[in-house]
């Protein structure tokens, strides 16, 4: 039985604005699920409905097989970390951690024991008598995490918990949260707009856009086999390049340039009736590679800008008047595509159409 199950859950505001549309999903015990999408895609609303902070307009939410739609937040046995920490500013760290336990009428001895254990774990045991305003961002984040895990709930929700930290701290906390999850194994749902957080932390990834879940799967699967242009361009830094062209038998024409495709790439497309039709070719920046001497598909690229990141460089350029970004270690002047790693998308449906056996 899945720990959390959503059945056709929707959220409407004022009867005409739809924030979440018919979302159905299942989350198994001990999974670390990341819901990723641009801001305004409905991911936070979805999380707040699971928490009971917002009511679902339609659909059912099940926790451990029981429908919890009508259960008030306080009885849902969940923990949540908010974007701005949401610590109680008028209470000390100790009181912040104890509040949820007191509300559940846990005896003081047990409260002290748990606080001791959790604060040692998160290295905040020296801060117990401090008020939140005297803590740094990283310390606040740790207290917020401690306040959530101390309750030993069934479900752990996180709403963009790292977005207000600086980048170094963010990387560190990202690792700490992953380690924490490996240790305590609590079923977790993590909402973020940051695709790198999503890729690195998730055991299962949900990509969301305009209130709809577009794709679900292990992060690397989703990354390598995006089902739509949106997923392809949203994941990755930078996202996938999309080039408009036309399929002519075994050749893909982009402007005046031609790319000869291997049999396994064009065969299926021809079968699907894409011969002589417009298609979108997708290639990740790291799959634009240096051409070998005998390479036939050399791209005639006009470089406009190079960003050196230290280990790799991002090469911004135009190919047949279409923008394209390459990610390379060595700066080279001869580019080609790694043809095993390219994808094709239908320009109308924006769905991926190059393969039939990856779902």
């Amino acid at each position: 039985m899945p720990q959390l199950k959503l059945e056709n859950v929707s959220k409407w505001y004022n009867d005409n604005v739809c924030a979440v549309q018919n979302v159905s999903l299942q989350i198994e015990k001990e999974e670390f699920v990341v819901i990723v999408g641009p801001s305004g895609c409905g991911k936070s609303t979805l999380l707040r409905m699971i928490a009971g902070l917002e009511k679902a307009s339609s659909g059912k939410i099940y926790l451990d097989g029981t429908c919890i739609n009508e259960l008030p937040t306080r009885d849902r046995q969940i923990a949540m970390v908010f974007q701005n920490y949401a610590l109680y500013p008028h209470m000390t760290v100790y009181e912040n951690l104890a509040f949820g336990l007191k509300m559940r009428k846990i005896p003081k001895v047990e409260i002290d024991k748990r606080i001791n254990e959790v604060t040692k774990n998160l290295k905040i045991n020296g801060l117990l008598n401090r008020k939140p305003q005297s803590l740094s961002g990283g310390q606040c984040q740790r207290v917020a995490l401690a306040r959530a895990i101390i309750k030993k709930t069934k479900l752990f929700l996180m709403d963009e918990p790292l977005s207000s930290l600086d980048s170094t701290l963010r990387l560190q906390m990202r690792r700490e949260i992953t380690n924490l999850h490996n240790k305590i194994k609590i079923t977790s749902i993590y909402v973020t707009h940051d695709q790198s957080e999503a890729m690195t932390m998730a055991t299962k990834l949900f990509v969301m856009k305009d209130g709809v879940i577009l794709q679900v799967g292990p992060p690397m699967n989703v990354y390598e086999k995006p089902n739509s242009i949106f997923v392809a361009t949203f994941l990755g830094s930078p996202g996938m390049n999309i080039l408009r062209g036309k399929l002519m038998d075994d050749t893909f024409m982009i402007g005046k340039s031609s790319i000869k495709l291997p049999m396994d790439k064009y065969g299926y497309l021809l079968e699907q009736g894409y011969c002589n039709k417009e298609l979108l070719l997708g290639v990740r920046p790291e799959h634009i590679v240096q051409a070998k001497d005998n390479e036939s598909n050399i791209l005639d690229i006009k470089i406009t800008h190079v960003e050196r990141l230290g280990d790799v460089s991002l090469i911004y350029s135009f190919f047949e008047c279409q923008p394209i970004v390459a990610k390379m270690n060595d700066f080279t002047m001869k580019f080609t595509l790694d043809l095993d790693r390219i994808h094709f998308f239908d320009p109308l449906t924006e769905k991926r159409v190059d393969s039939f056996n990856d779902e």
């Binding site: 902070l53 949540m80 610590l87 509040f99 949820g100 509300m103």
Partner: protein, 225 residues
């Protein structure tokens, strides 16, 4: 010496006590009611909310005589409400001490309600949500989170509305009258003393009310720092 006599005189103390008593009773009503109404209106959205908020704020801008006029119309002996009150308490409310309390409540309420509402509105909603997640009922969220976080606004609202109740003049005079030992408060007493040329008496009362008001405003300034 004359003023010493006055201080010991019942003539001096009567309006002081009536004013303080009126302001305390009205203040307690206003603080509780204003906090609750401010909380509800800061959280809930419903049709006609703006209309209700406008009506609640009206007593701040209306002349006290208009408030007195309405109080007489609504609670006077010719109205159903007035007759109902008279039937229950076997006497009309007009020209009683409770009338003074009632007038003070009406004029002081907007100050408390406005402070409470802005205090509650400025609380970060996710903090209250965090308390709900932590297992707190709505009542406990209100008590342990919202009230402490809005405490500065609630305190300033309380002091301002108490001070306003203490200084109420026009509506009180019209609705409660000016009966020495019964409904004569400091402001009405001062008015009458000056009218009657008793400047020494007026002075002592003026000093008394300035003293009380100064202390309250002083506390307010310290607490807001």
């Amino acid at each position: 010496m004359k003023s010493m006599d006055l201080l010991l005189n019942n003539l001096f103390w009567s309006p002081v006590w009536i004013s303080i008593k009126t302001a305390i009773v009205a203040g307690v009503f206003v603080i509780i009611l204003g906090t609750l109404v401010g909380y509800v209106l800061s959280k809930k959205k419903f049709k006609g909310k703006i209309l209700i908020e406008t009506i609640l704020m009206l007593p701040i801008v209306l002349p006290p005589t208009v408030i007195g006029f309405f109080l007489i119309i609504i609670f006077g002996q010719n109205s159903y409400i007035g007759q109902f009150i008279e039937w229950i308490f076997r006497q009309p409310i007009i020209f009683t001490w409770w009338a003074a309390v009632f007038a003070a409540i009406i004029v002081a309420f907007p100050l408390m309600y406005q402070s409470a509402k802005s205090g509650f509105s400025s609380i970060d909603k996710s903090i209250e949500d965090a308390a709900r997640i932590d297992g707190a009922s709505e009542w406990k969220v209100f008590l342990f989170i919202s009230i402490p976080l809005a405490s500065k606004s609630l305190l300033s609202g309380s002091i301002l509305s108490f001070a306003r109740a203490l200084g109420e003049f026009g509506a009180t005079l019209m609705f409660a009258g000016n009966i020495p030992g019964k409904t004569q408060t400091l402001p009405t007493a001062i008015y009458l003393a000056i009218d009657g040329g008793e400047m020494a008496l007026a002075w002592t009362w003026v000093i008394a009310i300035v003293f009380i008001s100064f202390i309250m405003m002083f506390i307010l300034q310290i607490k807001q720092k």
